[in-house]
């Protein structure tokens, strides 16, 4: 039962990805062609509110629902892994038109062929695990 809240937030996320149309290949194409404000507005709003909220949580020392201190773990320093990994991700994002969250939302929406992309994204993660020691990070 303690998991039901994650299911509910997941459902909310799924509906939001669909109704915002951010899960659509067409919207991603429009974004990478700089032909509409829509996606930039979505990401920009989320980040601005996110910055304010994150700052407030730190400033007011807000605890989580278990009464534990909320910790924002800083990402490891580095350049190559973020730039190269990010670029590889971007190539795939623009090709299929979906990042991992929107992929599963699409599947629920009824685009079952997105299962192919999702399956191979798991394979891609597996391949990274196999070769990670030989990559610059």
């Amino acid at each position: 039962m303690r998991f039901i809240k994650y299911l509910l937030v997941g459902i909310f996320f799924g509906i939001l990805m669909a109704k915002s149309e951010a899960f659509s290949w067409y919207r991603i194409q429009e974004m990478f062609r700089f032909q509409a404000f829509h996606m930039y507005g979505i990401i920009g709003t989320a980040v601005v509110l996110g910055v304010i909220g994150t700052w407030l949580i730190k400033k007011l020392k807000i605890n989580d629902i278990h009464g534990e201190k909320i910790i924002f773990t800083p990402k490891e320093k580095g350049f190559y892994r973020y730039f190269l990994g990010g670029s590889i991700f971007g190539l795939g994002w623009a090709l299929g038109g979906a990042c991992p969250g929107p992929m599963v939302v699409s599947i629920g929406y009824g685009v079952l062929s997105m299962l192919v992309v999702f399956f191979f994204s798991i394979v891609g993660t597996f391949l990274y695990g196999e070769v990670r020691d030989r990559l610059p990070h």
Partner: protein
């Protein structure tokens, strides 16, 4: 109210809803990062025999439940909140895509993903399945290499003003622009 929710959500409402998702997970003592699920699924599939996937994945169960919720959410959005129109993109994009052989978004299919990539008759060709497989491989490989995807870096990381996340997001766009502007003309 319901009328508003059924129609495509405006950008400011959508962006605020993403923030709500992130802060809900933070207040539950978790964090918003979807692609960790790919690593968890690898851990389950390899039964912890590969070092990178040898971790206690049961601690990530909450995120898999979130994933199941996202699938249900997609289903509910199409079944109960469908406004009956395809995605409305700009005329400039429609023109650009037409030059590459893509038709306009149409309700005769999903209305959200192009038939040219996602209709089964195209998926079940060597070329069609290769495109989707490569897209998936790049996303899955890249997101783990970069340590996060759009949710983990562009939303959570930038909200915490993390420099690595900014580098990753610049990477996302570098890759996306190369694919869209340089590679699409060769692929399509």
């Amino acid at each position: 109210m319901w009328e508003f929710l059924i129609n495509p959500w405006p950008w400011w409402f959508s962006g605020a809803a993403i923030s709500v998702t992130m802060f809900a997970l933070i207040l539950f003592g978790r964090s918003f990062g979807f692609s960790s699920n790919l690593r968890t699924l690898c851990a389950i599939a390899t039964r912890r025999k590969v070092r990178f996937f040898d971790f206690d994945w049961k601690k990530e169960t909450w995120n898999l439940i979130f994933l199941v919720g996202a699938i249900i959410g997609g289903y509910l959005a199409n079944t109960y909140m469908n406004h009956g129109e395809a995605v409305q993109i700009s005329q400039a994009t429609i023109t650009d895509l037409a030059a590459l052989g893509f038709g306009e978004p149409s309700t005769s299919s999903s209305g959200v993903q192009p038939d040219e990539l996602y209709a089964w008759e195209n998926v079940l060709t060597i070329r069609g399945v290769l495109i989707l497989a490569v897209a998936g491989l790049l996303v899955g490989f890249g997101t783990r290499y970069a340590g996060g995807c759009t949710s983990g870096h562009a939303i959570s990381g930038l909200s915490d003003l993390q420099l690595p996340s900014l580098i990753a997001v610049i990477g996302f766009f570098t890759g996306g622009l190369i694919m869209t502007h340089l590679l699409y003309p060769f692929i399509f």
